[in-house]
């Protein structure tokens, strides 16, 4: 096995019996099961892992977790490649292929690094200053900028993986399975409460997995974790989710999780499982045990590969054994970093010195380090880092008495690892996502969660609210679990809180937001604040000088905190530097409001299985199979698939539609009209109700008769139309447009429940309880007569706009004599289970009449020939009945109906509104474009004054010419005028006519 030169021979949580092969930038390396890509690279001595975004500076691994700004990876190949993943969170698997990003041609030779040389010319606010003016300059620079900037590349092929979605609810959702979260889960779980415990890492345990010496309940930390996990696993109502990030906290304790189900197995292994799963969890209480993120110190050239957070080095040493042989210098302003010094020494790292910014640290950990022989250089600062592609050493200088500068005596220390700790910032992201405030704590010099919002039931514990001592975290967790469960009524015992003996006390940290150097900030080395977006302390100063001083201005001017890491390691440092420049308290600069997601979420989890055929339901009628078998071409009408036309062999769409349209006026035709919306309305106040929702009068409609109605919104605009029939005194059958069915149903219910609740009327959607087929044409009566014995079909017995119950082809039907074509027509309604039988019987009996099935296109042409409107085509929510020329349907006798008052508004009663008219082109073969704009006067080029648009346009084989309906300003008073339709380089003249083209006297309705 190829040597891993920095790997310790034993210890850590990796499995040395399971070596894994991987490539980074094409080179082969080996790591072990349990490694992250970052720990495996470090074990192999790879410190240079990326180039920065703007200056293309060489960068190494800074952290060991979600906050990583530098080590961004393009993972995987082909259709599974994924950009911008953090090496610190990628679990190693055999065959893993990783590429660094943002460099060309290679990490060590990167031409973009020239940006570093010309940096004086690309300061903060550079985009605003240089490229927005003059406009031509931006055009010139843009392609270079776009090429130079940019992260990884998205895949170009379709994602081959499956994703899943899951809804869950629980009593306690605990986010973070470190000491606080585990203690909470144990206490709550023991009472029988339903607990979900999530952690973004592959193993539960959080910071305890990086402990070398700590003991809980007399056990080594790792053993205590194992026992806790075993106890929790045995609890039936506790769900443990590792590899699961809580990325969003929405209203009313709704939390979104992303579970990485098979990512750690590589691209092949999880074929029978989803790759990732989106969880939407509703919890009665949410426990935020998300820990804290260490802040780097802001010192000169703090971004050289080999500069790392002190706690990260401790994790790599203790958990992964991947720091052996390194030579480290640590700079700190607090006691915590001494744990790193102590542990690293035990893990085979040479710690040359701890440079403490404090003048006289005397904490217990400091003393322990001193006792171990580690040199402590108090009252000093690292003023410079040597080395370009890797750290080779540091300069250390004594701080002046006020700590704001350094004296000249410089000492150089050779090393390849520079670790820093500037204190800890609680991970308040999820708390902040609830829109609750964060408040500044002087004690820990960090933002901690403020009061939770009313309506959200959550609690931040442990590191997430600035409590860092292990004993306190465990105690808080235990209390949160037992109290949370008790509040929800779980009376069981929570057991004993875990205890820690002998935890060293720590002294206060010293806030130092810019570590001074021998040169002024901005000259010489660079003090990086935001690594990923290349924002330095000098940039913050520039923003301050130019007046961008609030957090929102600072962010946008410098782009600080706006990279994919959302400034997890940089926000507080930037705010504090700005506060120092403004000489104000840190919170008065402002705080960052965190928004979802905490870390990036794949789009696949959002779609889950809702793609392809599962995206939207498909609705089919009972006759669908027949349509398919007879060659129908389908069109989508909402979720319905309806026959569009039925081409015969060799026919074009035009041929087929013309044939179908002609047949309806010469023989007998049949159309599947099942998709019409149908609402059953019953109750003593049903007629009263119809009077309110339709413009015409309904009280006197006799049972057995049908009437066309127009529905208006309260604004007077046409909303829906349809035929409604009176089944009996208190029983009506309403039809609506296909698309309007749910809308109308909701409309009726809303008015009934909210405005007229004491009216006795009931609405039931029966769209799918009735199948409908309409027979149209002069021979339709003749055909029906052959198949019924109990329904008289003559005009006297069965007049237009009435219905009859009886039997057809031996099964019960209700036949309406209504017409959407102007022809003699009958609409047969039946149970869906009988529909195919009746349809087939009609087709068989109709064969001798050459019965013709027709689709929606012929239906549209036929109704347009007669000038019948389609709501949503001739109307668009701004059209009144008068605009349509349908004043005849407005009951003069009624004192009230919805929309009535609006029709007398000054604007709605204008005589020159847009009116529905017909348009006939000079050339009868020219079919206008639907939606085409109409002008009265043609100009050389746009803009021209538009006076209306074409709403429907077809070739009418019955008129032997094209026909169109249009809405035209003052159209009814322009009959006979010629208007023009300029489009596609030509101008088509057309004459305004009445909106009716065929059977103008309406004689055909009786066959």
């Amino acid at each position: 096995m190829t040597a891993q030169k920095n790997r310790l021979g034993q210890g850590g949580r990796i499995d040395r019996t399971k070596p894994l092969r991987f490539t980074f930038d094409g080179k082969i390396y080996y790591g072990y099961q349990g490694d992250t890509l970052a720990s495996a690279l470090l074990a192999n001595g790879v410190t240079l892992v990326g180039r920065s975004f703007k200056y293309h500076r060489p960068r190494g691994i800074l952290s060991a977790g979600a906050e990583e700004p530098n080590a961004l990876i393009q993972l995987g190949l082909g259709d599974r490649t994924e950009p911008n993943l953090r090496a610190t969170q990628i679990e190693l698997y055999d065959g893993l292929v990783a590429e660094s990003q943002n460099r060309w041609p290679s990490l060590t030779t990167d031409f973009g690094a020239a940006n570093s040389v010309i940096q004086k010319f690309i300061p903060s606010g550079f985009y605003y200053k240089t490229f927005m003016w003059p406009a031509k300059a931006w055009m010139f620079y843009e392609k270079f900028i776009r090429q130079a900037a940019g992260l990884g590349k998205g895949p170009t092929e379709q994602d081959p993986d499956r994703y899943d979605k899951l809804y869950a609810s629980c009593d306690l959702l605990i986010i973070g399975a470190g000491p606080s979260g585990l203690a909470t889960a144990l206490a709550a779980g023991r009472t029988g409460a339903r607990v979900i415990l999530v952690d973004e890492q592959q193993e539960l345990g959080g910071s305890l997995l990086s402990e070398r010496t700590a003991e809980i309940d007399g056990k080594a930390a790792a053993d205590w974790v194992a026992a806790a996990v075993a106890e929790l696993t045995a609890m039936p109502d506790v769900t443990l989710l590792s590899r699961t990030v809580a990325w969003a906290y929405y209203d009313h304790n709704s939390v979104s999780l992303m579970e990485r189900v098979t990512d750690h197995l590589g691209p092949v292994a999880g074929a029978n499982q989803p790759r990732q799963r989106l969880w939407r969890v509703r919890a009665k209480e949410v426990i935020l045990a998300t820990g804290a993120i260490e802040r780097p110190l802001v010192y000169s050239d703090n971004d050289r590969p080999g500069c790392m957070l002190a706690s990260a080095a401790r994790t790599y040493a203790n958990r992964y054994g991947s720091m052996r042989g390194q030579r480290a210098v640590i700079m700190t302003n607090n006691d915590g970093a001494y744990r790193t010094a102590l542990d690293l020494t035990d893990a085979g790292v040479t710690v040359f010195a701890v440079v403490d910014l404090r003048s006289n640290p005397q904490g217990e950990l400091v003393k322990a380090a001193r006792a171990k022989g580690i040199e402590i250089i108090a009252g000093h600062a690292i003023t410079g880092v040597k080395g370009k592609l890797a750290v080779t050493g540091v300069d250390v200088m004594p701080l002046t008495a006020d700590g704001k500068g350094v004296t000249s005596a410089s000492r150089h220390i050779h090393c390849d690892l520079v670790l820093s700790s500037g204190g800890w910032q609680p991970t308040v992201h999820l708390h902040s996502q609830t829109r609750a405030k964060v408040v500044w704590s002087d004690d820990i010099q960090a933002f901690v969660p403020g009061d939770k919002l009313p309506g959200q039931n959550n609690r931040s514990i442990g590191g997430a609210h600035g409590v860092f001592r292990l004993a306190d975290c465990l105690a808080e967790g235990h209390a949160a679990g037992s109290e949370g469960a008790a509040k929800l009524g779980f009376g069981g015992q929570s057991g004993q809180a875990p205890t820690v003996s002998d935890e060293p006390a720590e002294e206060a940290l010293l806030p130092v937001w810019i570590v001074p150097s021998d040169k002024p900030v901005g000259q010489g080395g660079k003090h990086f604040v935001d690594y990923q977006n290349d924002v330095t302390a000098a940039d913050v100063m520039l923003a301050h000088r130019e007046g961008y001083r609030s957090v929102e201005h600072l962010k946008r001017y410098t782009t600080m905190g706006m990279a994919t890491d959302q400034g997890k390691t940089s926000n507080v440092n930037a705010l504090a530097i700005m506060a120092g420049l403004r000489n104000v308290e840190i919170p008065s600069v402002g705080t960052t409001t965190f928004r979802p997601p905490y870390t990036p979420v794949t789009l696949g989890t959002f779609s889950g299985i809702d793609k392809g055929d599962f995206l939207d339901p498909i609705r089919k009628t009972a006759m669908h199979q027949w349509h398919e078998q007879h060659g129908a071409v389908f069109e989508c009408v909402g979720q319905w698939h309806r026959p569009y036309y039925y081409p015969k062999p060799g026919e074009s769409m035009h041929d087929a539609v013309n044939r179908e349209v002609k047949a309806a006026r010469t023989g007998v035709t049949i159309v599947d009209a099942t998709t019409l919306g149908k609402i059953d309305i019953q109750g003593p106040d049903a007629a009263w109700f119809l009077n309110m929702v339709y413009t015409n009068a309904w009280t006197k409609l006799e049972p057995g008769r049908c009437r066309y109605g127009l529905m208006l919104g309260e604004d007077g605009m046409v909303f829906d139309d349809g035929v409604t029939s009176r089944i009996s005194e208190n029983h009506f059958h309403m039809t609506t447009t296909t698309g309007g069915a749910p809308r109308v149903m909701s409309w009726l219910e809303e008015w009934h429940q909210c405005e007229w609740p004491d009216k006795k009327v009931y609405f039931t959607s029966v769209t799918e309880q009735w199948s409908v087929m309409a027979l149209n044409g002069p021979l339709s009566r003749k055909l029906l007569e052959e198949l019924t014995t109990d329904i008289p079909l003559d005009d006297d017995s069965f007049p237009f706009m009435s219905f009859k119950d009886g039997h057809l082809a031996g099964v019960p039907v209700r036949i309406f004599r209504i017409s959407f074509t102007g022809e003699l027509a009958f609409e047969v309604n039946c149970k869906p289970s009988h529909a195919l039988h009746i349809w087939r019987a009609l087709m068989q009996a109709g064969e001798k009449y050459d019965i013709t099935p027709y689709g929606t296109e012929a239906m549209h042409v036929l109704r347009a020939e007669k000038g019948f409107i389609i709501v949503g085509q001739e109307t668009d929510g701004t059209i009144t009945p008068y605009d349509l020329g349908m004043g005849w349907i407005m009951a003069k006798s009624k004192t009230d109906f919805l929309g009535r008052r609006s029709l007398t508004r000054e604007d709605t009663k204008r005589p020159d509104r847009k009116h529905l008219v017909g348009l006939l082109t000079d050339n009868p073969n020219e079919v206008l474009l639907e939606g085409g704009q109409i002008v009265a006067h043609v100009k050389d080029k746009p803009p021209m004054d538009m006076i209306g648009h074409v709403t429907s346009s077809y070739y009418s084989p019955n008129c032997n010419r094209s026909i169109a309906l249009a809405l035209v300003k003052n159209g009814r008073n322009r009959m006979g005028e010629t208007v023009y339709l300029p489009y596609e380089g030509k101008v088509i003249p057309a004459r305004i006519t009445e909106p009716k083209f065929f059977d103008l006297e309406g004689k055909r309705i009786n066959g």
Binding site: R282, P454, G455, E714, E750, D896
Partner: protein
């Protein structure tokens, strides 16, 4: 994603519900609206409160019992302070509540 307690079905996820608009807007009678100016009618028809604070609004349990009801919701915190049946008067809630 709100958790809304339907007065008829209990607590359900927001995606089961539809939002109406401000509650307690009474439709004028014909006798009243005949006397109203266009501006007054527009006030009824179009103008809705949009407070920063407690808002009385109506919701419908579209994918449940399909019944309308009223909700008092704080528009900043999204806290649901009351749920009550259609036709009931608005409960006393400190509308200055922040």
């Amino acid at each position: 994603m709100f958790l809304i307690t339907c007065p008829y079905c209990g607590a359900r996820d927001e995606h089961e519900f539809g939002y109406g608009h401000e509650a307690h807007i009474v439709r004028p009678t014909p006798a009243e609206y005949e006397q109203m100016s266009d501006a007054e009618w527009a006030q009824y028809l179009f103008m809705r409160k949009n407070p920063k604070g407690v808002h009385f609004e109506r919701w419908v349990h579209t994918k449940g019992c399909r019944r309308w009801f009223n909700v008092a919701r704080h528009t900043v915190t999204h806290e649901i302070l009351a749920v009550y049946e259609m036709g009931k008067p608005a409960p006393q809630i400190d509308t200055e509540k922040k």
